[in-house]
């Protein structure tokens, strides 16, 4: 099982001829991802890592079944690229690009909702279904198959925690990066609901951070979940009023604090790890492993 993507997912890489995209196309192929097409307007006809490149998403869709796209184009062109994929009917769009204007993000998310599509990002590392399919930029070796679902706002912190899980013999069903920006496609609840239904997933790790109230809202749903949830919230030491890298990671007007999130999650029955490397032990405990 796993959620959103699996071993049968056909992937298109948007902006495939760029430096980052071609590098990560190679990495994704090495992970086993089925990349069937690339798209860079004006570069159609060439191949990148053996993958055919098309001038438009529509053209790629005429030649292949596309189940998911990953967008590597620079921020000024991201809205256009996202719209092109959504308009063509691609059901899962992963937007790696950082620095997308927030009003563009709002429009992308709204259009995706109308099309019934899933958007991950902007500003996401992507998504990995352990051992089956990787879409995005995480390093391959830390993501292995197993029964822990991971959902996060932040990329590198996810590698850190997933790497710790893997080192402790805890593989993953799916690791979902929602993106670090303010207006991203999914919420924690959207993903928690998918994990709750997924038979492969036995426990969930939620990696949050200060800012916004996504974690607090998620806590409401965690109360109803049958599967155990372990959380880590980054930014305990962050001063208020400062934007900690992510556009969304800011304590504003006393809202979005570490304390508030930890209290809400704890009250909902989630176990909150004080530091990133405390997560595996709590997961093992939750799964009744010793």
């Amino acid at each position: 099982m796993a959620i959103i993507i699996d071993e049968n997912t056909n992937v298109l890489v948007m902006g495939i001829t760029g430096r980052q995209a071609s590098f990560h196309t190679k990495q994704m192929l090495a992970y086993g991802t089925k990349i069937v097409a690339g798209c860079t307007p004006g570069k159609g006809g060439v191949e990148v890592e053996g993958v055919p490149v098309y001038n438009s998403v529509r053209e790629a869709c005429e030649n292949h079944r596309i189940d998911a796209s990953v967008i590597f184009v620079p921020a000024p062109g991201t809205k256009d690229a996202a719209f092109e994929n959504l308009e063509a009917g691609v059901p899962v769009v992963v937007i790696v690009t950082e620095g997308v204007p927030v009003y563009d993000e709002i429009q992308i998310v709204a259009y995706a909702k109308r099309k019934g599509a899933i958007v991950l990002g902007p500003n996401t590392f992507g998504i990995v279904s352990g051992g089956k399919c990787k879409i995005g930029i995480p390093p391959n070796q830390y993501f292995v198959e197993g029964n822990v679902g991971v959902v996060a706002r932040s990329g590198t912190l996810t590698y850190e925690i997933t790497g710790n899980l893997t080192a402790n013999g805890l593989g993953q069903s799916t690791v979902v990066g929602m993106g670090g920006d303010r207006a991203v496609g999914l919420t924690f609840i959207d993903v928690l609901k998918m994990f709750e239904k997924d038979p492969q997933t036995k426990a969930v790790v939620l990696i949050g951070e200060i800012g916004g109230n996504n974690e607090e809202i998620a806590a409401e749903y965690i109360k109803e979940m049958t599967k155990p949830v372990v959380a880590f919230i980054a930014g305990k030491s962050a001063p208020p009023g400062k934007r900690m890298g992510h556009a969304g990671a800011i304590i504003e007007r006393g809202k979005g604090t570490y304390k508030g999130k930890v209290e809400a999650l704890t009250a909902a029955g989630a176990k909150v790890a004080p530091l990133p490397f405390d997560v595996p032990a709590l997961v093992k405990e939750a799964l009744g492993m010793k």
Binding site: Y103, A110, P139, G155, P239, L275
Partner: protein
Amino acid sequence: MKMFEYMGKELFAKYGLPVPKGRMVTNPEEAAKVAAEIGGPCVVKSQVLSGKRGKAGGIKFPNTPEEAKKAAEEVLGMTIQGLPVECVLVEEKLKIDKELYMSITIDGSAKQAVMIASAFGGMDIEEQPEEHIIKKHIDPELGMHPFFARDVVRRMGIPIRSPHGQEIVKIVQVLYKICVEKDAELVEINPLVFSDDRVIAADSKVTIDDDALFRMKDLPFVDDKTPEERAAKDLGLSFVGLDGDIAVMANGAGITMGTLDTLQAFGGTPANFLDCGGGTGREATAKALEILFGLNPKAVFVNIFGGITRCDDVANAVADVYKARGNKFPVPMVIRLIGTNQDAGRAILKEIGVEAYDFMEDGARRAIELSKA
């Protein structure tokens, strides 16, 4: 990017929103001139990117041009919350019958813009009881329409057919137009003032989305960052200054926060937040390290888990800095390096005698040890 009050008001005026008569000046003589043009009681407002200007004595109410000159002399050169006052806004003193609050900002949870309004303005909106606050989300596909504005007016308890009601219907719509056209993540009027039959924006707070500045070429540039923040920003990185003595660089906002949290939990004190993630190349990473050295920390902790960031790029940057500084580091360096291209990265570090750590917690402990040595 935060805009000064006077810039926000200039923007409002361009969009046809009513603002008080007056303008920004940089010297007392000009202040007297503007006061004379206004020809009555004035307000002299310090222009700094901070609230609490009134409490700090940065807002004065002169009645004559001579008094305006004196007020400007006093306010120019003041420091408000660490920010020097380099210009003042001189404008007509409004007769205030009623103060309202109105803003549009981004609600990340709803993934929409949200209008927040209150018939009780003037003070901090957070200090208002819930029942005085109107929140109304703006559906991005539907956009802004007169009915939306009329509903805000109705909920504020203002008769829709009154001159004030009619005026606010216009103002609500224009505020959203500004947000969308100028990529403003915050547009706030507090207070929005009833002055006889007029409705006037007595203050302005406008923040432009930093990520959209590339397409906002017609706006004035405001440097609202510290020198370190600016230097990092120019490299495409984000920096936040903190009070401690261990300088930190990590790749990704979450892991950088996690690194600071770990240092603090182990008894260390971070000097900064510096996220060099997102595929920052060798040269920018080297420059970022120089920003850290500039903080005069007791130790530097570089924590890299490579994804889009490549370990060899980071290692080369470290080696470049080492060589540029005569084969040494100005302060003790601790490096944790794993992930994409880690073997290549570690080999490069080995050549300059640096042994990389595998685990963040080990690196953090070592950095704290060195910072206390």
